[in-house]
Symmetry: D2
Subunit: 391 residues, 4 copies
């Protein structure tokens, strides 16, 4: 067995299928896609990649599969799905997801095409593994698909710990060893024993706190929104085919921005970290309901209205209205005296954390430093909110 | 400056007063008092002492004092108070607190007598430090006393991290560097800036999860209850004077149990880890309100009733009904746009965590393994609750 | 399977034999014997016990046994031996070893008597395990005994990492996962593959540096020498039977010192950390060869001579002349192209480290603070060395 | 003060000059230059950048400067030099150094031009800092320049710990807190107190072991040698100006390889991790002296000879003959009883470590997998060495 050293899980042992999958171009590409994309603009140490994360998810899946003592075929499928679960990600991961979905109509978890039309398919075929079943597993469907994508999946168990290790933020340290140790299968579905409730809660808490301090930091969101707008431009203008776009690395996307006039400024700003600033940063209760959530057409129309009112170029205004948070972990299944319940029903924390997520929600309007005041006033007027001053 | 290496904070620099205080018998005694008393029966690595914890609290206080740029006299007082804050603890810390309070009428934070009548007083006098002011500070009173004992004190900041390091449980990792960095004084009281709310919440969360998995683990509570009953016996029978009792180390208390007939069995059971077991482990909602909380006389009467009904010796029944949890951190002061608010008002998590603490509350009835069934039935009848089976 | 949380290895799974062995009084006693005995006088966090260390050694042995895919009987024996390998230690571990050997003629690794005459024997018998074979394994004899006591044993792998974790000193972090992963059996003996040489060297280095900064720190040696002298007194005066002495905990030995007049002062000094100081601290090259090494009778005669010359009580002089260091790891077997070599033959570091150990060697003469000058002059004269001034 | 969170040093506080320097394009570029360049092909977690390392070096320099209580001008210069010390690095850091030196005649530590002709110069000028003095400091010259580049510099203190954190290899954990704490200035030069010798040795050891397991891993060297050859081609063929080449990021260099026919294959091989393999991996004693060391012309001639004898394209042979190691730390100054000595004179380890470095030296000949046998035989013949088989 080949062994790989990992900064989070120490030694990771690869089965032969995993080794062959790793050796393919789609997997190797993940070495050049940062796990936390634009978070490195806030936390300079956050340079870990989707490649090492994929190894970590594979490792946790292997341990879960051993623990649950699954039959070999299912075990093979789960391990393979864990390893390839992120190959569908475009450059800068989640930041280009909406643009890809608009132009390709495909979510990053739908990877049937990758498993069929690339080297990955050859590797799976040689070993008698069914690409369709693996793609379904990555999407959380089929037997124990929830281990890879579900309420308490190994994806989240890895990224919470790994993101904490690399940002230096101490909140992500869930006790995955204990969670894995206490996994059970009840009626064909995953569950944990009741006395693991505190551990399951800790995963939920870790994500809530990581959201607050890392994942939703405004600087990262601003850089992400800039990438989203420039990506949209590239795709709308036909500079790149959507399928081609999806296969770029982070650096290749920046290079493409650089070479195309209308997006060159975004490239320069990202390279020199001369990002847009917050003109508006508004709490949920101050924002009219009809402006909440990432509706693309509405967002664009509002940006144009704000730009017009402020007398600036439309590219100088970015509106960022996230969806309301939900907590997938709250659906985790807990075994209580032989009965299966949801974590939300057993844990008094879940409601508090959901409220907490709502509390942290912000609508942002971003603009270059030299148009900040004009955009702030215009946005406050168009969005009918009080302009909050942020420092 | 003398420097001491610490497993949690790395190097701790001692000012001359701290060095002199450390050199006294009351401080050196803390080397032989485990920080987590009976938790080592569940987490065998939890052998850290109140001595190293005291150094850690001193270290955090020093950093806070530097950060806040306090005038020298107040800084000296706070540092000294931080260092000696635990000298009042009896053997096995919190486990002997109720017995000491019953017989001495004194809480472990009331340490005036120690600062006046021991070497500690000489050290303070030589340096012109006022014992009364320091004793008040340890009790959370006086200028910035809350830094040592308050909603977000350095005591808690140290023990959450230290207890996590030594148990191996990952929940205690609050970001004390960030908390300290963001401390402010507003109207003479401590507060943190609004964008530290997530960090303040994390301290609250850490304590809630540490309660669930470490501090209130039933095995630790059982051993603690056994120590409480035996201590009561020693004191009630006049084997030791209360003041003498308070100055024992953990091991000296065990040796005293061993030498006195009526408590010898408890000593043997603790040494061989042959602890009582749970006969009853009941949730809050199943317990009549009148049986909730650690009322001493009521508890003793109920134990006798249960023993009588079960036909066993009164010493074979221990009833453990903790008080309802409260969360001191929820009172932490947060500065929002120049105004001071309570964390409970700014954080949607606080209510969830309070509910969570209630959820984890349990009434326990403990008995030797060979009387378990008899005691369970008797206790269920006397306490009017359904006997829950625990494994 | 029962699982125990450990601060170093995270979760440790116990097989049923291990669980039964743990439940015996001789194993539970190890909860009250500090792994690093007097090191806590220098590193206040070093309060971990031989109990948690025993669990760690068991854990590493289990992993090695799985890795090597041994047949069940041998695997059982090695695991059991790993768990009980320290039951023979007296109070304060290595510090009372010489006194025990003088009076009992038995080394702490000779534990046949414990495995035959205590509960441990019953547990082994019930499970068909041979106490003699296990005692031999603890002593490094018999099939793969070297896994428990040998050039690269799991004992050392655990303690180097654990002692580093608890002192806060960063030198002990050897890569035991890699060492275990690369263990092989060649001709019935353990060996590691050639590309693990750097890892094997790191174990040797870790021990050398831990010796320099932790294990041989003069404050720890002084406290240890004080315990050795007082223990000798107790045994020589017949206050305790040697066998009884061996079974004490650290605290029980201190209590015994306290109760016996001639050793009461040592007890007080240890409790209040009022230790002897260094009168002499001499390098190897300044000390005549005939005074090197821990010869008991010679040491005592020299102490008397020094005391007489200084005009102080014989108890006021302690001479501490350690043996020259040797490095067991240098005998580790390395597989090079199929041939087995010794680490010393493959590693250019070994000679350097041996020289380094010689460099750190010191002869110490210790005395109470108020006799320091007199003892220094007398000792320099009696030992024919230049008195080096230490600060 | 602006504070940045770092995964290694926790919080790093930036003075205003540092903040302004960070905001320049040359510093921001370091976000896209991996600290360990090709090591990520072996350790997938090794994706940290020269940007975060620069912050770390700045942080340690700040602490040293505070500790040594330097006068403000010198302190400012040392902090600034620490922050910018790596701006001179080309893409893939050390891997393109030889090519840059051949074509530009400039070492990466010579950064006068950068400090004069880029935004960095403007920032320094505004604050009255002398670019020439800072450039000298980066090169280890001038007052306390050795703090930035010397026997025990803060550069090495940061990278050993950071590289260990990110590879997961435990050898880099030197105790920089203790080293910094014990820095002294003696006769205008840095020194450490004698009792810090073990800590200074540990830095030397850490580098030796990191060399063995990380920095000189053959897979990293192979990828590095491939980059060196392709870079030489780009520069020799005039595809890029040397000055332009120096300013590329890692990804931009790969993209340039991709676009230029003769280097396109190297780009593909790096992206898909289809690296050359070892045809020869020879110990120092088997290699004739005249073939030792990185002489460029000789190396190229030998490659051509080997290729001719093997009947393969010259690009299919890479010869890698490193220089013999030296240990800069051995020159560290130690204060012994007021006199200054070199670490090499005080430490018995230094000679052992130097021998150890020689032991790890290897000459490598690398080739594509399909020419491996032919190249091995040809190289063994041309280089007059026995072909060692590597697996």
């Amino acid at each position: 067995m080949t062994t790989i050293k990992d900064s989070v899980h120490d030694y990771i042992e690869l089965d032969p299928t995993a080794e062959a999958l790793l050796d393919t171009a789609p997997m190797q590409r993940l070495r050049e896609v940062r796990q936390l994309s634009t978070v490195q603009f806030v936390y300079p140490s956050a340079n870990h990649t989707r490649f090492e994360h994929s190894l970590g998810v594979y490792h946790l899946a292997s341990r879960a599969v051993d623990r649950l003592d699954l039959e070999p075929d299912l075990a093979d499928r789960l391990r393979a799905a864990a390893l390839v679960h992120d190959v569908g990600h475009g450059p800068f991961g989640h930041q280009t997801e909406p643009a890809i979905e608009r132009h390709l109509g495909r979510h990053h978890d739908e990877i049937d095409w990758l498993l069929e039309r690339t080297e990955l398919g050859d590797v799976l075929a040689e070993r008698g593994l069914d690409p369709t079943a693996i793609a379904a597993t990555v999407d959380g469907r089929g037997p124990l698909g929830e281990l890879v994508s579900g309420a308490l999946d190994v994806d989240r168990m890895d990224y919470l710990v790994r993101d904490a290790h690399h940002t230096g933020v101490p909140y992500g340290t869930i006790d995955h060893a204990r969670l894995l140790h206490n996994l059970r299968i009840v009626d064909g579905e995953l569950a944990v024993e009741e006395d693991t409730v505190a551990t399951a809660e800790s995963a939920l808490i870790a994500r809530t706190l990581m959201n607050a301090t890392v994942y939703r930091h405004h600087v990262s969101r601003i850089a992400g929104a800039m990438i989203d707008r420039a990506s949209e431009r590239l795709l709308a203008d036909g500079v790149l085919e959507p399928a081609e776009f999806t296969r770029l690395t982070d650096a290749q996307l920046l290079a493409t921005f650089e070479e195309y006039g209308p997006t060159a400024d975004v490239s320069r700003r990202l390279r020199e970290r001369e990002l847009y600033k917050r003109a508006i940063w508004a709490r949920r209760e101050t924002v009219p309901d009809r402006f909440v959530g990432p509706d693309y057409d509405r967002t664009r129309a509002l940006e144009r209205d704000i730009a017009a009112e402020a007398g600036v170029d439309p590219d100088a205004v970015i509106l960022d209205s996230p969806s309301d948070g939900t907590s997938p972990e709250s659906r985790a299944r807990i075994v209580v005296d032989g009965d299966v319940r949801r974590l939300a029903d057993r844990s008094s924390l879940v409601a508090g954390l959901d409220a907490c997520a709502r509390e942290m929600w912000r609508l942002g309007v971003y603009a270059p430093a030299d148009h900040l005041e004009a955009v702030r006033e215009a946005a406050a007027s168009v969005l009918e909110i009080e302009a909050e001053v942020v420092h």
